[in-house]
Every structure is written in structure tokens, then in C-alpha cells.
């Protein structure tokens, strides 16, 4: 039984997909730029924090073909990333969607419950609002990581003219390290996000494109873990409560 609700505002849907394009091009061109000098150490120094010092990123993961080309893409697409991010953050602030994401007391406990559920330690899907506690943390963390990426990016772009931004990250070398590391963390979260969408709640793809979400198919009602109860309800407490009595 479909129980359709309009869940995702068109501005959130638009900025989500624009962000996919912007982040893919920024990460790809950024990795191409990184490959021109795939290390954080200054000449003659070492950088023990990076175990892969000196190892370039595989070419197939990069974008822009060469250093100059990647720089042009990076410095053009950064405006799309920033403008799109500001539109998203401005919208969720004014429209109230930030309330679905902001951390609340109990989120840590709920996150542990979700992890227990995914690890089969707990049988029933924990009760959740629009997002479960793990999603909330991820969607709250992503804009914060993005802000760190943008600031450290400015620090690398203008280390003299905007040297006070560079100083936030100690110096140019550390700004470069923060910029790169924050990108890796953001991509890892994004990869887990995509995996969970397809393996737990593919119905969210509908709400992120058309805005409509079938509440009867929510992961909580299906008692859904990755690849479990993808198409039908499991015997969650919520599902049992809703099931007609014989």
C-alpha cells in the first residue's frame, strides 16, 4: 500500500544533484592537481603523517588530463560548488530543514542502536524521524567538512594575499594536507551514502528526484538492513503493530 508524501523540497533536490556534479569534478581535478606533486613534504623534508607520500592517485580517478587543465576546471567549478552550497545552507536555514539534521541529545545513543541493528545485535529497526541517527550525523557532517575544504582551498589558492586564511591552518603545507584529507573523508562518507541508498533505501532515490516518498516503504517499516527486506516488510515491531489482527 503506497502512502505517498512530499518529502524533499525542490531546492534540496536541485542542490543535491548539482552538488554531485560539482564534487565529482572538484575531487577529480583536485586529485589531478595533487598528482603534479603527490606529497605534502617540502623539498628536502619529510611528512610522516602521510604513509602514501610520493604515490600518485591512479589516473582513471582524476579529471582534467593535465595540471593546467585540472586547475582551470578546479578554479571554475569551485564557484558552482560554493554557490550551490550557499543556496542549500541558506534554504535549510530559512525553511527549517536544518532541524532534521542538527544533532540532539540522544543521537549518540541512537547511533549505537543503529549500528547494533546493522550488526544483527539488535533485531528491530530503531524508531527514527525523517533520517536515522547515523544518516543525521553524516548529513550534518558533510556541510561542515565542505566548509573546511573551501576554507583550506582558499588558503592554498591565495597564501599571500589571503595569508590570514592560510594562518588558520598554520601554513601552506598544512592547509594542503587539511584540504586533501577533508576531501578524502567527504568522499568516504559519500561512498557509504551511495551504498546505503542502494542497499537499504532505494526508495529515497524517488524522493531525491521527484520529491515523493512512499512512507510505507521506509527502512523502519521494512526493518531494512543492507540488502535485507529491500522489497518487502520484515517483521519489525512497527510492521507487526500495523499488521491487521487475524
Amino acid at each position: 500500500m503506497a502512502e505517498l508524501v512530499k518529502r524533499t523540497h525542490w531546492i534540496v533536490r536541485l542542490t543535491h544533484w548539482v552538488n554531485v556534479v560539482a564534487v565529482v569534478i572538484m575531487a577529480g581535478s583536485g586529485m589531478r592537481i595533487f598528482n603534479a606533486h603527490p606529497a605534502f613534504a617540502r623539498p628536502g623534508e619529510s611528512f610522516p603523517l602521510n604513509p602514501l607520500e610520493g604515490h600518485p592517485i591512479p589516473d582513471w580517478l582524476t579529471f582534467g588530463a593535465w595540471l593546467g587543465g585540472a586547475r582551470h576546471w578546479h578554479f571554475a567549478m569551485m564557484w558552482l560548488l560554493v554557490a550551490n552550497g550557499l543556496l542549500y545552507l541558506g534554504f535549510i536555514y530559512l525553511h527549517g530543514e536544518w532541524r532534521d539534521l542538527v544533532p540532539r541529545r540522544g543521537d549518540a545513543r541512537d547511533s549505537i542502536e543503529m549500528i547494533k541493528f546493522y550488526l544483527f545485535v539488535r533485531r528491530d529497526h530503531p524508531h527514527q524521524g525523517k533520517h536515522n541517527a547515523l544518516q543525521k550525523s553524516a548529513y550534518f557532517a558533510m556541510p561542515i567538512i565542505a566548509i573546511i575544504i573551501v576554507l583550506s582551498g582558499i588558503a592554498i589558492w591565495k597564501p599571500v594575499t589571503l595569508g590570514f586564511v592560510t594562518a588558520l591552518f598554520v601554513n601552506y603545507k598544512w592547509a594542503r594536507f587539511v584540504h586533501f584529507t577533508a576531501m578524502v573523508v567527504l568522499l568516504l562518507i559519500a561512498i557509504v551514502h551511495v551504498f546505503m541508498v542502494f542497499s537499504v533505501d532505494p526508495y529515497a532515490l524517488r524522493s531525491m528526484t521527484t520529491g515523493w516518498y512512499n512512507r510505507a516503504r521506509s527502512p523502519e517499516l521494512r526493518n531494512a538492513r543492507p540488502f535485507y527486506h529491500l522489497f518487502g516488510a520484515g517483521k519489525s515491531r512497527a510492521a507487526r503493530a500495523e499488521a491487521p489482527k487475524p
Binding site: R42, P43, W60, L67, G69, R71, V160, T161, L162, G163
Partner: protein, 236 residues
């Protein structure tokens, strides 16, 4: 390494796959236009935030790159000025100036000089510290009597046809030097002897080594790497 703008866009398409990229592959010219537009707008912004009182500050305790300071030139061998073949080295200052100059190294060293410990920012992403001794470009502009129609300066070299032109605001920054000394010694052959341009406010490729000519111009004159697709402005 030498790839023109059209070619790098075509090559871009070979990398990551995405719907957006497919569109670019179908129409690379529109992507080139977009990137050229962004570069022009970025340059306007970069020029507008540029300040002569924003300095590169390296802590006094910072380690110098010393012998590890990367060496770079486009000639097959280290370019060296052989006086027995080419006569005495001179730095010609010409173009939109009232008094063209022809300076020997001694003449150059007699001008007011400073020593500064600054970063060298390479387009590749690394930075290296060195102590540079030389004459401020603003002093050379003053001695030569730069005229009102001088808006750019082209820095030319004897490293084949290597040159890069700069905007006047960057030329006049107090950390922009014609350097003849590095880390307390005369500049070595690998680092641009007898004299080179150096400034922390531009990426390394803008800082012409093995200088021969400083030409004040009403128009910009591109540059060795700028003409191959790197940003002409190249500011930090």
C-alpha cells in the same frame, strides 16, 4: 606536458565518467569557453583583492630548502652566460621608460638591495623557503623612470625563449625582487644566475630566471607557460 587548451579538453573527456562529462565531450568548445570565462573573472577578482601590504611571512626559525631547492630550466643543459662568447652580461631595462638602462651585475648590485626569507610557491603544489638578495622591481621602475603607459612588464631570459609578463601591481609589490643572491651566496647557475625575478606573490613559473631584458609595456605579452595553458595571472 605541452598540450594546448583545445587538446586538454578533449583529453579531459578520457578521465572520469559522468553525465556532465559526456556533455562536455560532445561539445568541448563550450567547455573551453566556460573555463576561459571563469579564468577571466577569477583574474578580475584576484587583481581586486591584491594588496601591497599583504606580505608572505616565513618564520625566522623556518628551515631553508638549501641544496634541495628544486632546479629548473627549459634548456637541455643548465643555461650559463659565457662572457667569452656573449660578452659581458647586461640586464637591459627598456620599453615604456624615460631612461632605458643597461646594467652590469656590478651596476645592479650598487642599487639599493634587500634580503628576504620567503616562500617559493610552485604550480605543482610544493613550496620551498630560501633567502633572496636583490633589488626591488619598484626601485628599478623608479630608476628607469617608468612612464604612464607602462601597465605590464615582460621579463625575458637567455634560457631559450623563456619569458613571462606581469601586471604592474604585482611588479610593484615590495617582495618582488630582481635577485642576484640566494641563501647568502651569489645566485648559482641552476637557480637563474646572474639574476632572476623572484617573488612569493606569483607562482614559480612566473618568476623568470636567467634574466636578460625587463621590458615595460602597455599590453601584456603572455609567457612561456601562460601561452601553453597555465593561467597568465598565476598569483598567490
Amino acid at each position: 606536458m605541452i598540450i594546448d587548451r583545445r587538446r586538454f579538453l578533449t583529453l579531459s573527456a578520457a578521465s572520469v565518467s559522468s553525465a556532465f562529462l559526456a556533455a562536455c565531450e560532445a561539445n568541448p568548445k563550450s567547455a573551453a569557453k566556460l573555463l576561459a570565462f571563469a579564468e577571466a573573472k577569477n583574474q578580475v577578482l584576484e587583481e581586486s583583492i591584491f594588496r601591497h601590504d599583504r606580505m608572505d611571512r616565513v618564520p625566522a626559525s623556518a628551515k631553508l630548502a638549501g641544496k634541495d631547492f628544486p632546479k629548473y630550466y627549459i634548456s637541455k643543459k643548465v643555461p650559463t652566460w659565457d662572457p667569452s662568447v656573449r660578452g659581458v652580461w647586461r640586464l637591459e631595462v627598456s620599453g615604456a621608460v624615460r631612461t632605458p638602462l643597461s646594467l652590469t651585475l656590478d651596476d645592479l648590485m650598487k642599487l639599493p638591495h634587500i634580503t628576504q626569507k620567503v616562500d617559493h610557491f610552485c604550480v605543482e603544489g610544493w613550496n620551498a623557503r630560501a633567502t633572496w638578495t636583490g633589488v626591488r622591481m619598484s626601485d628599478i621602475a623608479r630608476v628607469a623612470g617608468m612612464t604612464a603607459d607602462a601597465h605590464y612588464v615582460d621579463f625575458q631570459s637567455f634560457d631559450e625563449d623563456y619569458h613571462e609578463s606581469w601586471d604592474m601591481d604585482s611588479v610593484m609589490h615590495p617582495q618582488t625582487l630582481i635577485a642576484y643572491g640566494m641563501d647568502g651566496h651569489l645566485l648559482g647557475a641552476a637557480h637563474g644566475a646572474p639574476a632572476r625575478l623572484h617573488s612569493p606573490i606569483k607562482l614559480g613559473y612566473k618568476c623568470t630566471k636567467y634574466l636578460t631584458k625587463i621590458v615595460f609595456l602597455p599590453q601584456q605579452n603572455g609567457g612561456y607557460w601562460s601561452d601553453q595553458g597555465y593561467e597568465w595571472y598565476g598569483g598567490t
